[in-house]
Amino acid sequence: MRFLGPRSISSLLKTALDVVYYGLYSLIAVVVALSVCLLSVPNLAAEAVRRFNVDASLSAGSMAFMLMAFGASLAGYLLITHWTRQIFRTLSEGDVFHPDNTIRLRWIGFGLGALEVFGYLARGVASGVFHLHFEPIYGLRAVTTWFAVLVVFVLAEVFKEGARLRQEVDRTI
């Protein structure tokens, strides 16, 4: 099976990304609705916690805040998925070096970096303010995202050069 063009691996991946994209939309809607419920009916959290027999010392407001932060990170993933879908759309059309793919890849790189920084901040706030404990990440796993960001930026430059060459070929008679 070929990778580019209609009915190829990239069009299959584009469909999978569509599913993930709309799934993320639904998840964000659920998270926002839950946090609004927690803010408007504070007893809801205590009731849910009691029903599931979970030990939770956080107030409804704190839970809503954390849910909102989770929703914000999901929104970041939604944006990254959106740009990735647009890139895969061009791949499934067989148009690899589309001029817009460079800027999309750069945005993906910035998005991944911003999400990682947001994760550090969220973990810092959760452990500092809400006294929640997180497993520390050591070794190469701690820098995997930054490697991915670097690769994406390099890829953006490759696409930029590809788009320039394509334009040159198009205007070579």
Partner: protein
């Protein structure tokens, strides 16, 4: 800058790009790009086709003009 004089040659020989396309086998779109000075590069093969079809020398089709911005 290098300037293509295809428009002038076509006018002089009273030819349209469609007729030139028939003679050379090049597409009308490509010839329009050449005529409108939009091309970035010209293959020797294309130049050969044009010279044969128009019965002229490469110098009749191309000229160098000093760019004002330089």
């Amino acid at each position: 800058m290098i300037r293509l004089k295809l428009a002038e040659v076509l006018a002089r020989k009273r030819l349209s790009v469609v007729e030139l396309s028939d003679r050379t086998g090049l597409s009308v779109r490509d010839l329009e790009i050449l005529r409108d000075q939009k091309a970035l590069a010209l293959r020797l093969r294309t130049l050969d086709c044009l010279c044969r079809a128009l019965n002229c020398q490469p110098g009749d089709l191309i000229e160098y003009a000093a760019d004002d911005s330089e």
